[in-house]
């Protein structure tokens, strides 16, 4: 073979292929890796609700404190419109009746010291549905939160506190979460889009709002997820510890980005052990049985 005088001439013949291979590898490591949204919003680029605290007041109402996390480059003072719905749940003979009472309020969230906050007071047992909307960088960001409120005030039918222009609305939200009465770990949650969406979508699940957990398919507007049991939710004193789970669904063709927030509580069935329980039962019964059979017949008994 005749040698060429040009250095690395052999390598140059393969340069276009090498470049193409390098680009392909770069694509695989970045764009295709899970959790990377590329030009799509990341968790920090979305609007998402966060349940900060809920507590029962002496009069039986429940005070729910919420925050709305916004994109880092959100223009200060950008209006965020929120619709707050509180639907009363009534049960009869163990079955939930159709909703008979609903309070609806539209508010514009005030920007308080760089954060959007909302406080809702629930006077009765029901479902709280909050939807926030804002425009950002040409996109419509939508954030929805659903949770159960266990209000027990004597007087029912109180409006949510942030009363703005009250609207008598029939709509039930962007994503239907009716099947989820109280979101718990270890239990499957199913969601249904109420509006038309493409047949095949993906929903990214974020634990705590920012930590990517999984990606679940959205088929014909329906998706489901089972939050795993989390030891961090176990604490003495009750079942009130919660973790905010965010389900993010993007509709780039409409420039709309959804973020559904659900406070998830520890499962009442999540931390039980049948083996240990039956062992305790069996050992106790065996010890008592041996004691009964081995004791002498007491005097005075026939």
């Amino acid at each position: 073979m005749e040698k060429s005088g040009i250095p690395f001439s052999g390598l140059r013949r393969f340069m276009p292929a090498v470049i193409r291979l390098a680009l392909a590898l770069a694509w695989l490591l970045t764009v295709a890796s899970p959790g990377f949204a590329g030009a799509e919003p990341t968790p920090s680029d979305r609007l998402r609700w966060r349940l900060d605290e809920q507590k029962r007041l002496p009069d039986g109402r429940v005070e729910v404190r919420l925050s709305l996390d916004r994109p880092t480059d959100f223009v200060e003072g950008t209006p965020v419109h929120a619709r707050v719905l509180l639907t009363r749940w009534e049960y009869r003979q163990g079955r939930r009746l159709s909703p008979t009472e609903r309070s609806v309020c539209d508010v514009v969230l005030p920007d308080t010291e760089g954060a959007y906050r909302l406080t809702v007071y629930g006077a009765f047992l029901g479902k709280l549905d909050i939807r926030g909307t804002a425009r950002h960088n040409g996109r419509t960001l939508r954030a929805q939160l659903n949770m159960a409120v266990f209000g027990a005030a004597e007087e029912s039918g109180k409006r949510p506190r942030e009363a703005g222009n009250e609207v008598d609305a029939e709509d039930d939200g962007w994503i239907d979460t009716e099947a989820v009465v109280l979101a718990q770990t270890g239990r499957e949650m199913r969601f249904v889009f109420r509006e038309d969406v493409p047949a095949e979508l993906r929903a990214a699940v974020y634990k705590g709002g920012t930590t990517f957990q999984a990606e679940v398919p959205v088929r014909n507007g329906i998706f489901a997820y089972t939050p795993p049991h989390d030891p961090a939710l176990s604490a003495a004193g009750g079942y009130n510890a919660h973790l905010n789970y965010v389900f993010a669904v993007d509709l780039p063709e409409r420039d709309e980005y959804f973020a559904l927030t659900l406070p998830v509580y520890r499962s009442h069935m999540g931390h039980i052990s049948y083996g240990l329980g039956l062992s305790v039962l069996g050992v106790s019964a065996a010890i008592c049985g041996v004691g009964v059979l081995c004791r002498r017949k007491p005097e005075g008994c026939s």
Binding site: Q93, A236, G277, V280, V283, C301
Partner: protein, 319 residues
């Protein structure tokens, strides 16, 4: 004429069906029942007063609730419970209680297997007699301690968390959840271990001893505290007693006082279940009777028992 014990057996089963499964048919008998109609059974048709009592005591003592709905509800529950006890006495224990029937089933199984009953000695029976009052005090005091912040909220419903009825009765509705140890935290895990240990011991006790749990039942203690008000009583005519001892032998609670009493008419013992088996087994006419005020509901009759003969509860089926 149907024998009393067969009638009682029938009534017990009807009440079991109503109280355990009546909820599925829309039956709601409220929260003031003086028997172990366990609310942990999803299909229950009524609820044990002890759970209502524990739940209401703590909540109703909050300053803003004493004169409000919860406080009034607590009073209403108690009045209703009192009325039911005044009218029916301990018939709830001997004829209605679902957990009592479970114990009677275990006794019947034991007698079918021809296993001899093991009874507590009089000394031990006397020693454990106060336990039901201790449990009654525990379930009344602990909710107060929770309300004032001394005790962990996980001690809510303190007696229910250790009651063997909670573990066993839901099994009849297909719910085995309470046979598991709950590992949420140390307090809850400890209570569920105690519950299962007590249940294991009680199962053994209920198999070898008739109505063993009734020796510890705080509801029986609470009903007996209302004894001065009850219209239903077990009454004896001491002059007619021939001392055969049938009442002592047939009694599931091994009460000796009915046999020994020679002077007074009122023989309603603290542990009596008003099952009236003593009256049915008594060979002397009108000596023992279950009376509602001045009227006799059921009385001993010589023609019913025939000749004077020894009645052995194990030979007759145990219950």
């Amino acid at each position: 004429m149907i024998a009393l014990r067969r009638l009682r057996w029938l009534v017990q089963h009807i009440c079991f069906a109503v109280l355990m499964y009546g909820g599925a048919a829309g039956i709601r008998l409220g929260w003031a029942l003086p028997c172990f109609a366990c609310p942990y059974v999803v299909t229950c048709g009524g609820n044990c007063y002890l759970m209502g009592l524990q739940g209401v005591i703590g909540f109703a003592l909050r300053p803003e609730q004493v004169l409000g709905g919860p406080g009034l509800r607590a009073v209403l529950y108690f009045l209703l419970f009192t009325l039911l006890v005044v009218l029916f006495g301990k018939l709830w224990c001997g004829w209605v209680c679902p957990f009592g029937l479970v114990q009677d089933w275990l006794t019947r199984i034991r007698t079918r297997l021809r296993i001899r009953e093991r009874r507590l000695s009089p000394l031990w029976a006397a020693r454990i007699a106060p336990v039901k009052y201790v449990l009654l005090a525990y379930l009344c005091v602990m909710p107060v301690l929770i309300t004032v912040g001394v005790a962990y909220p996980d001690f809510h419903l303190p007696f229910c968390n250790i009651c063997p009825g909670k573990a066993l009765l839901p099994l009849f509705a297909g719910e085995p959840r309470h046979l598991a140890v709950v590992l949420d935290n140390a307090v809850v895990a400890g209570q569920s271990v105690v519950l299962l240990a007590v249940t294991g011991g009680m199962l053994t006790g209920m198999f070898f001893h008739r109505r063993f749990f009734c020796l510890f039942c705080p509801l029986l203690a609470l009903i007996h505290l209302l004894k001065p008000l009850t219209l239903l009583r077990l009454v004896k005519e001491p002059r007619g007693c021939v001392g055969c001892g049938n009442c002592r032998r047939i009694c599931p609670m091994r009460i000796e006082d009915v046999y020994r009493e020679k002077e007074q008419a009122d023989v309603q013992h603290a542990a009596c279940l008003d099952c009236a088996q003593c009256a049915e087994s008594c060979p002397s006419a009108r000596v023992l009777r279950l009376a509602f005020g001045p009227w006799t509901l059921f009385g001993s009759a010589s023609e019913r028992t025939g000749s004077l003969k020894r009645r052995d509860p194990d030979a007759s089926g145990g219950v």
